[in-house]
Amino acid sequence: MSEPLLSLHGIGKSYGAVEAVRGVDLDIRAGEVLALCGDNGAGKSSLVKIIAGAQPQTTGTLRLRGAAVTFHSPQDALRHGIATIYQDLALAPRLSIAQNIFLGSELTHGPFGLPFPRLLDKRGMMAAAREFLQRLNLPLADMATPVERLSGGQRQAVAIARALRWQAELIIMDEPTAALGVKETAEVLGLIRRLNAEGKTVLLVSHNMADVCAVATRVAIMKAGRKAVDRPIAGLDPDTLAHMVMTGQENAGQHLPAGRGSMTAL
């Protein structure tokens, strides 16, 4: 079994008197696709925010390759190789594909080979953006196309390409297929597989059990702020998984009556 890329030890998060996350231990191993599931209010969003650097934990420690780390901001997490692709994708709709992929870390060069002034290397960014998308097997012709003109699946690809640009090792995807149709969902699941094939570690937060079973290698289920289940995905089907999410019990699915359960946990 591969070593943990990121280890969570006794992570807790309180908002005043409300304990959203309670003493969670979780290993995210290099090269795996770990699905994080749970009902609304189970604590998975709070946990993801802590891993992404969007908020500090109240208790516990994070260890990145064995060394204790504290992320003060999403940018700080990014510097440590952890990128988050948010549900709303955090793209600038009217900026181009290339501008979005390089947003915040643009390439520059001096005009006519001079060192100054540093101007945007638009051609270089377009070429590199095209390469990132080709790596994801999604060739788009015009890198100057504004993101607002892309389909939902293509936008996910741009957001993922940006994570590749940041050379992130752990990519957190928050409900990547929530607003997508069937075809686009298949595209995004394909993107996750390609990311994983590139050796990237993926933390997939999803309510869609079919998606989880399709791409994840392991699943962790949160219930009432605690980690209730942590096991390989092998041997699970979407209905069983949905029942486990609802009950928070690993063996619950074994007693699932025929015809019960749901592909999507509410």
Partner: protein
Amino acid sequence: MLLRLLPRFGTVFAGLLLLLFFAAFAENFASLGNLAVILKETSFLAIIAIGFALALTTAELDLSVADVASLAAVTTGALIQGGSAPAVAVLAGLGVGLGAGLLNGFAVTVLKVPSLIATLGTAAIAKGLGFMLTQGVAFVGRWPRDFTGLARGSLLGVSNLIWWMAGIAFLAWLLLKWTRTGLHMVATGEADEAARLAGIRTGRMKRLGLALAGLMAGILAVLMAASLSSAAPGMAGDHFLYAIAAVLLGMTMIEPGRPNIPGTLVAAFMLKTLGNGLVLLGAPYYAQDIALGVIIIGSVALSSTVMRRAAFTKKLNFRMGG
């Protein structure tokens, strides 16, 4: 082909038609002397409008530009009148503009006052200070040529005012289109949260946009004072609505829906052409104000219509592989 160009250049074509109309019906409109007058007037408007556009690029309004320009002008005028060196007076004028811009940026990003309110407050303060400094009386005199030459001189037969406008417009265009900082300003205005998550310091970009708007007000002030050899409280007041109109009209062309420098320049020229043409046609003085109001409302309506239509057409083309 024409349909594809229409969203970007429709307003430019309308401007050309306006020119042809006045050339045909307004006596003396098409003379070189009159065109030079229009261009000089355009330069004042374009400079302050570029400032407004830079602030608006970061999604912040600067409604104080005209009153800050008036305050900066009387500051410069007071120093020149008092015998200070022109360089000192110019720096003071620019400093007042920049200072007001920085104050706006502080109020908006640190005190979290919406720019609409913050800059209205700054405008009122600047207006009051202008009257306090002058006691309501204009500074007029024989001012040194070193100072007046900034606006009245010419280079290669072209008025310095036009060179100033061209230089400032080029630098602003370069900033927005070719530098990281400019792109970060655009991203801040287009998608604040996305920009912040990408590590862009959006507050800093907003402060920069507002500071540059203030600086442009300072530059306008110095050039106006130099051009007129006088400085009076409220002297830039007429530029307020015109600057807003120029930026909004500019947003209907070149890069529809986004404040852009080439569009702002063309719009400033169109507005001054309209004013000049109406005067030559003998239209009543209030016709310009009415036209200005129509342009402001029409620009915003047109801008959103053009954007919706362009987005729809392009989406269709893109989906069809066009």
